[in-house]
Symmetry: C2
Subunit: 611 residues, 2 copies
Amino acid sequence: MERSTSRTPLTSLKKDLRKRGKEYCSKERWMERFPISIWAPKYNFSKGLRDLIAGFTVGLTVIPQGLAYANIAKLPLEYGLYSAFMGGFVYMFLGMSKDITVGPTAIMSLLVAGYGEPLGDAADDLNDPTYAILLAFFCGIVQLFMGIFHLGFVTNYISHVVVSGFTSASAITIGFGQVKNILGIKFSAHGFLEEFIETFKHIKDTRWQDVVLGIVSIIFLILLRFLKNWSQGKIENLGKKPPVAKIVHWKLLWILGTARNAVCVILTGALAYGLMDDRNDIIFTITGNVTEGLPPFSAPNFKAPNILKVLESGLIIVPLIGFLENIAIARGFARQNDYRVESNQELIALGTCNVAGSFVSAYPVTGSFSRSAINSQSDVASPASGIVTGFLVLLAIAFLTPAFYYIPKASLAAVIIYAVIFMIDYKIVPELWHVRKIDLIPLGATFFFSLWLGVEYGTLIGIGVDLVLLMLPYAKPKTVVKRKNHTVLVELERGLRYPAVDKIESLLDEECIMRDDPSSVLFDFTYISAIDYSMLETLKLSAKAFQKKGQTFGVANCRRKISDLLIKANIEGMDIYDTMEDALSKMGPSTIEVNGDEVIEAHIHCEDDHL
Amino acid sequence: MERSTSRTPLTSLKKDLRKRGKEYCSKERWMERFPISIWAPKYNFSKGLRDLIAGFTVGLTVIPQGLAYANIAKLPLEYGLYSAFMGGFVYMFLGMSKDITVGPTAIMSLLVAGYGEPLGDAADDLNDPTYAILLAFFCGIVQLFMGIFHLGFVTNYISHVVVSGFTSASAITIGFGQVKNILGIKFSAHGFLEEFIETFKHIKDTRWQDVVLGIVSIIFLILLRFLKNWSQGKIENLGKKPPVAKIVHWKLLWILGTARNAVCVILTGALAYGLMDDRNDIIFTITGNVTEGLPPFSAPNFKAPNILKVLESGLIIVPLIGFLENIAIARGFARQNDYRVESNQELIALGTCNVAGSFVSAYPVTGSFSRSAINSQSDVASPASGIVTGFLVLLAIAFLTPAFYYIPKASLAAVIIYAVIFMIDYKIVPELWHVRKIDLIPLGATFFFSLWLGVEYGTLIGIGVDLVLLMLPYAKPKTVVKRKNHTVLVELERGLRYPAVDKIESLLDEECIMRDDPSSVLFDFTYISAIDYSMLETLKLSAKAFQKKGQTFGVANCRRKISDLLIKANIEGMDIYDTMEDALSKMGPSTIEVNGDEVIEAHIHCEDDHL
């Protein structure tokens, strides 16, 4: 039917659409939507073994981390584990990165803590998990939406410096938030500032037993980290065909060092149990009762009161930050290990992880940098390792919860502090000072406002500052102003967008409208490729003022798109001319030579893009 | 000493600085800082009479408005009056606009309500005035800071559409917030959503007496507004030399119509007093006890707990919105009445008004549109009218407070609703649809998020959406990619700023690093005028990836500023060449003709600035 070979724009467009439609429905396209369909056919035993070991090692890390991060999220400990298994199961089908392990992270936990409602006794400093689970559900929905409609690009507006400032501030907030657990004191506080003040207020209640345990735990973690790095160096230098005994020896030491969090928690828990006295009193401040058994499989509680009011900006911030964390890690490992990730597919994968997670009482999750690094170093072969990790976590939930009772709070705090301390990016400050000082402004703004008002607002403010700096050239467009008798010629560069409203208004007021000898004005729109509504309003008001003074207001050299827009906006008192010559001959009462010598004033308002 | 005529850049700079220093300290400059020094010498009796009448008329409006707006701000009624006198006194010395009257406004009151702590009994729905006064102080400090350091330009980033969306949402929030007072029901709620839900929950408690009074009040206000417009038309058409009796007749009717709020409040108050029964029970829900007498002159209470936590983002939002409201009004009247206002001077004036106000228990103030219009229509001659208004308010505080007891809440609510209903800017929607549909996105985002999360967050989100749209061309810079053997030539337009990181990364990954036959890449930086830290980091990571693959990564045609930056950043694995020819001859193993026919692939990624 449509075999016509005439290439009218319309049929060409139709063909293009049909081609695209086919592309979207093609088998390749659907396989891309389920990356498992690409790697599963090539799966084999040796890959399975690699995934098994990697998944196991990651599992040994995620169990203590989950417990600790639940603490940051101000949730009962078991919720950290509830959040740690579903991500791996789902990501295996939808994720493009073999290295990423999805689960609770320090930063997501901090954000979750910011959007909660206190649960019962305030002194416990725990939030109601209902809202954290709802947040996971809505966060997933937003991420799915962004993925399906290809909105991943909005994270492009969050620059490295803002991420750096945000991460450092988060690390400090999280780390300082655990100092009270090391000191064995109890209070409820929100945000760094309050935490800081309250800690010093309660410092007299410090329990020396907890302090000693906390410090010992940190030293222990430092030593095991050295062991891990040492054994890793040894493994890399084993040479070709090393004896199996040697491999096993160093690999075991490496796993011991890598699973240092688990080792630390188990040992200190055993110590607490062992030091229990006759009256069942325990020398350290311990975790206490943990709900036993697997979480129920049920929808989040949509009937909770004030859902929108409690979650408010979290519905935007949490999905964005979660995605940002995930894609940064995925990109990094993709480059290192030579594969490709696609941001919208990652959004879909992450969104599904969160929605599915919310049905098993998980709070919002994302890719974890530390665990993904362990996964990668364990030579993982595919996202299937997530299943192994997930099962290990499920086993822990099913059988280990009674043992969690004895975990000392100080040792969990040590695990957290030693994890986040490496997130503080202090090196960026001298680097920016050396290379580009102006970027210190968004960095500083993000950092300080994050500590002051909380990371969620700090990040928003940092993004704002960044955009303002980025837009300075738009706010101060270059203009060349020439005066010819009673007409002012203004040549403009760049688009006329709203940040320039003020400059254009002042220019018209000062040069034309409010002078003792008001002048007509003629804009040269040669370089203008865009005008927005705010600017149209300004032009409208100015045209009215010109009319009132009996002066004329014209534009010339418009592009087609712009003149169409001006005609549509129907600006009373503004004339549109084809060329400057045309305009000048029709505007002024006296004829003026365009190329003559009558320019009596010429200055450039802004020299260059100064940023 | 420095008579040298050699014009080295340094001495020229010194001279320039000295000249500027002189300028800043000149008499003219100081007179500009105190605009009163310019108009006061020319002041005379007839101007004084005009100011007296205008100030009196404005005073009749600000007294009922102040009482009503305190209600919006969730403060005891007298605080509306406390906020209504200091502004006029201070603005007289520092303000540049004769028309502006500074005092409480509906929008500032709404913002103040958002940053408070409940005071005592929650059912009263009142906030602790301490924080509102502190907010005024800090708001003033921020405005002074912005004025002194010429930071007024940041409001340029708030476009007309965001202001429109914000204003309409504020009007709806404020108006709906008063429905409960018309219905005579009582509850505590924050924000439009909660107010909406709670109103319907409590609707069964409606008191018919209040409803009747509210409706009657609104009808009364509508009629008096017609009277005002009618008499204004008559006055304008009086012709030359009209009889004095006629002038007085119409002027009195005009003042009656203009002071309609005062008339309505007085009449309904008298009605409530008259309908009091034997047991002193009053048929309407009334205001109740109001603190008598003038406010103390004392510093704000800086010892209040959690100041920063309560005021949080208000410290940024309130000064910005306040200034925005003020400068928009000042600009409008300046154009209409042919004078000039300068934004930094207005910031200083407004900041001083707020700081001074905070010492007499005022909450944040700004220029009021409705009262400035009345001022202007009353033919005001100078900012001295503010003194008249101020004294009238002080008299009201000193002697009328006992009478405020009887003011029915429903009639105050009617005053508010009838004031804000005109702020809803519904006309902008069809206009944008006609002229520029894309601007509906920031409008809608601001409007809906303002209703949902509160105007303070809605505005921030709207600004963000606006900036994202504005920046799309930065995020998708035009690139021309050509392939020559194993080298990819990339020509870039615009600055390389952080929103483009994603595009550049994907381009390098797809075209060069992750191909089966990885290619070297050469960037043509001819059009690049700026690079920021995020982009440098991306280039660094990419250079590393190229190095790993044994491929080279180069840039050519850098401007001096850019090559300096790249050298400082010390990017390992990236070579900087002078020209493309130079680069191609040194990079590839095979010599390649630049102008030859070896271009095998050329496509433009992005056609045009699509916005």
